[in-house]
């Protein structure tokens, strides 16, 4: 069975600096998707960025980028120029590409604190 591990329960960063959140996963599949979701204190989960495993290029969305290391089964999220609005819980998730209707497998989450 697939698993997702986020080893950092909490991270803090100074405003305007860069922070990297870690995520590792375990799977025997070659076709899959990886996601980072953000859950601010307002609670609605928002998709931040997604990565397709067959694409070697790392996904980027404005200040958010990933470092996808397929062989190492690592999928870290880098947030550049951190802003107060980035404070949230961040969840890493995996989904099988062999059955894309299968549910997401979630990490436990990392709480990101932004220091002004």
């Amino acid at each position: 069975a697939q698993t997702v591990t986020q080893s950092q329960p909490e991270m803090s960063v100074q405003e305007a600096e860069t922070v990297t959140l870690s995520c590792t996963y375990d799977t025997s599949e070659s076709d899959y998707y990886l996601f980072w979701y953000k859950q601010p204190p307002s609670r609605q989960m928002i998709l931040v960025i997604r990565q397709e495993a067959y694409k070697q290029q790392n996904a980027t969305e404005n200040r958010f980028s990933v470092n996808f290391q397929k062989a190492a089964k690592s999928f870290s999220l880098k947030i550049s120029d951190s802003q107060l609005g980035d404070a949230a819980m961040y969840f890493c998730a995996y989904r099988s590409g062999e059955d894309s209707n299968y549910q997401l497998i979630w990490g436990a989450g990392t709480k990101l604190i932004i220091k002004p």
């Binding site: 609670r43 609605q44 969840f91 894309s100 209707n101 299968y102 997401l104």
Partner: protein, 114 residues
């Protein structure tokens, strides 16, 4: 703008009550999911549905049931609420065959059972 709407943001119920949590999506999504979120435990899947009148148990279905009579609506039912069901409940949906795009979530319902 596509939406998943959960009928209540906050709910307080008494032990033993039958509780209905409603979730409606306007995106013509086939797949719908109910999660429970507790501090330190992340998201745990309660039930999911791939189509109308279909349902599948997730990781923690005990004490819950669901109903999907219409495509857009997925209801979570606590047959007899207990204090250990005090939690945040999240509904999500996505389109069959487009799993690579992830879920759309509702805003969550904070349920307190007293």
């Amino acid at each position: 703008d596509v939406k998943v709407t959960q009928s209540s943001r906050y709910l307080v119920k008494r032990t033993g009550e039958k509780v209905f949590l409603e979730c409606v999506q306007d995106m013509d999504h086939e797949n719908m999911f109910w999660y429970r979120q507790d501090p330190g435990l992340g998201l745990r899947l309660i039930y999911f549905s791939y189509d109308v009148k279909m349902k599948e148990k997730g990781d923690i279905p005990e004490g819950y049931s669901v109903s999907r009579e219409k495509k857009e609506r997925f209801s979570l039912i606590l047959e007899s609420a207990s204090t250990n069901q005090t939690s945040m409940y999240l509904c999500a949906s996505d389109k069959r065959g487009l799993g690579g795009y992830g879920y759309t979530f509702g805003s969550g319902t904070r349920l307190t059972v007293v």
